[in-house]
Symmetry: C2
Subunit: 408 residues, 2 copies
């Protein structure tokens, strides 16, 4: 039985599709998302962001890697299996939601609403990446996140910088002071209590991470970035196992050409934290809000809003559903996958793990150089093709394990 439905939400709709072969077969729920990040700065794109451009084995365009390429990979894998075998070795359900890039605000309520229809034995999430074309990987952990907006106001109106300059507080200067004070010289977050809930990595976990083939120089140089962050941790540890507090945007006063001699009335910033086990987003939100309010000079109006948050995820690396995925990857890539932790956040994965109580296997074929969230996002078509082959093997592997075997 095949069915495709559009599920409306209070925000953007999700698409649900299922092909149920036989109730005795294992059921796999595949998760992806059809929404994408904004395209700005649009002037830095080499081609129109929504006009796919194929070049040198790459497909450029917004969403090609994050995450429409992965959805395409699943659909084409299904098509290939059906062409060859006429049926799937598992029951397959796909949910492609439309709000992942905005924190999946309505995903949990949508999921609860359709919980019966979404029931599965295992969930496969394809919104992650590998270390390189030659080194496959399975993601066993995701960071969570909390995203905030902070705004300060120091006067009722913009002021002439000559008439008032020297006499009054400048909201941009105030905000810069507040934000500059969020980290110390060693790159540690200064918000009191920020690290209290962080579970330290074991020596074994650090050793495992250190074995992951990963070239820091290449990672940084591919995007021209300057190394930064918390002292005392490797770059890989900092970007996957340590919490962050980033400024994602800032604004205030005059931003146009030339000069406007103004002391603005207001300034604001977008902040976000990547959260790790066992941090609680609500608690971190409370700590950051309190700290910013406390460090603002007297008389300055501070507004602080939570935009969205999402929990971190940790999947047992020893689960048979993960083993089967590792076997499929090994067969296609000719090399065992690394077990890695992703620094990014996929809030709905936590929802799926919690509401279905099934293992979540994070199987994605993105590459570090895909420029996701940035201008000129691209996907490597070779990765997509190998991903399709992997899925063919994986569904057969899950079929062989059976519903019982998948319970682990």
């Amino acid at each position: 039985m095949t069915r495709v439905e559009i599920w409306p939400t209070k925000g953007h709709p999700a698409v649900f599709a299922e092909r149920l072969e036989d109730s005795s077969l294992p059921t796999v729920l595949v998760y992806g998302h059809h929404d994408v990040q904004p395209v700005d700065p649009v002037e830095e794109w080499e081609a129109a962001p929504f006009q796919p451009l194929e070049r040198d084995g790459l497909l450029l365009g917004r969403g090609t890697a994050d995450d429409k390429g992965h959805i395409l990979m699943h659909l084409e894998a299904v098509r290939g299996i059906l062409d060859a075998q006429g049926r799937l070795p598992v029951n397959l359900k796909l949910i492609a939601e439309g709000e992942e890039e905005n924190g999946s605000e309505h995903f949990e309520s949508l999921f609860r609403e359709h919980l019966g229809q979404l029931a599965a034995d295992v969930a496969v999430i394809s919104d992650t990446g590998m270390l390189s074309r030659t080194q496959p990987a399975l993601t066993i952990a995701l960071r969570g996140m909390a995203y905030w907006e902070v705004r300060v106001r120091t006067s009722d109106t913009d002021l002439h910088s000559g008439v008032y300059g020297g006499a009054v507080l400048n909201p941009v200067a105030v905000l810069c002071q507040m934000l500059a004070g969020l980290h110390d010289d060693s790159g540690r977050v200064t918000v009191p209590g920020f690290y209290d809930q962080v579970r330290d990595l074991s020596g074994e976990e650090r050793a495992e991470l250190a074995r992951v083939p990963f070239d820091e120089e290449t990672f940084l140089q591919s995007v021209g970035a300057v190394a930064g962050g918390e002292a005392g941790y490797t770059l890989m540890e900092r970007r996957t196992t340590r919490p962050t507090l980033e400024i994602c945007g800032i604004w205030g006063g005059y931003q146009g050409e030339g000069a406007k001699t103004v002391i603005p009335a207001r300034a604001g910033a977008k902040l976000s934290s990547r959260l790790v086990p066992d941090q609680d987003a609500a608690e971190v939100t409370r700590l950051v809000a309190n700290h910013l309010r406390t460090t603002a000079p007297q008389g300055v109006a501070v507004e602080f809003d939570l935009i969205h948050d999402g929990r971190w995820v940790l999947t047992p690396a020893s689960h048979p559903a993960v083993d089967a995925a590792a076997d499929a990857l090994t067969a296609v890539w000719g090399r065992r996958p690394s077990y890695i932790r992703e620094g990014g956040s996929i809030p709905p994965v936590a929802t799926i793990a919690e509401l279905l109580d099934v293992p979540c296997v994070l199987l994605g074929v993105g590459l570090p150089e895909d420029h996701i969230h940035a201008p000129n996002e691209r996907v490597d078509l070779g990765q997509l093709f190998r991903g399709m082959q992997t899925l063919g093997r994986l569904w057969q592997g899950y079929s062989d394990l059976g519903r019982e075997g998948l319970r682990g």
Copy 2:
């Protein structure tokens, strides 16, 4: 002989008008400007910025106070004198330039080009204000200024805050650190050498400033501002006699609705200094640029541009041309004017003083609550009418002094 001309520049044109009565009479050059500040944030205006709205004796609109209202005041004064007497008691020249709000970039070359036609015995600049409706004032000093843009870049492209967060420098955080470091806890500018050229006020000058009727609370409360600035100086001293280093604008990363989980590649800010005797704009520019480059973390690309600058002005308060203006103000307002210093900058005044070698009398009728450079700029029409009466008396006063007497 009456003449009106439009003088083109490489930027915006100036308007020149003259009425020459008799070469034995003193010649007055009046300066004003017809350009205005940008109107943004336009959504905070109560009416369209260029649709004048009269209400309760006020005229709202961009430029009503700064500086078109002053030009209107001069034109209507001339009309009144001609209606009553058929001729002016002086030769009058008016130059209204079009680039004052952008640093008068072409004013000096324009002035040099037309130097012969601009020759005068005294210059009257009407682009300043008074302390209140009941307390007239003559401005004897203006601060100079330098306006800069600084941009930092930490990567080639925007980066996903999950994939890279914790591993790389964030340009907004870097910029906030650099800008937060420009002032110490006492509000003093930390740029080495910044105060080296500042001429300290004498005890007498500080006493004179302390006598100026000025209510700090009213000044701040009228715009809802929070007091700030350099410790150890009165608010009046800080805003008129001390140099500043302000952030006029800042930008970087995502500024839209909701969330974009990005580490931007770039961030930037507009900075400006108000300069006081004997600071040199080029020297201060060098110091600030060096300091920002020095305090940026290694690997961060820093670009720094001078947008424009202008010299401070100091006019001898004892000059007969100033005395005559004080007498005219006293006759109309019924109270002697205060001799004040303005915190703002009018770069062309320095040009006029230098190229014509004449006393510059700064006679303006703006009020602190005029909201110049801000939404809902307004002018008090009563101030304009009293200003016209004052000009009638002043031109007669200059006529009585004669060309010799005006030399001081």
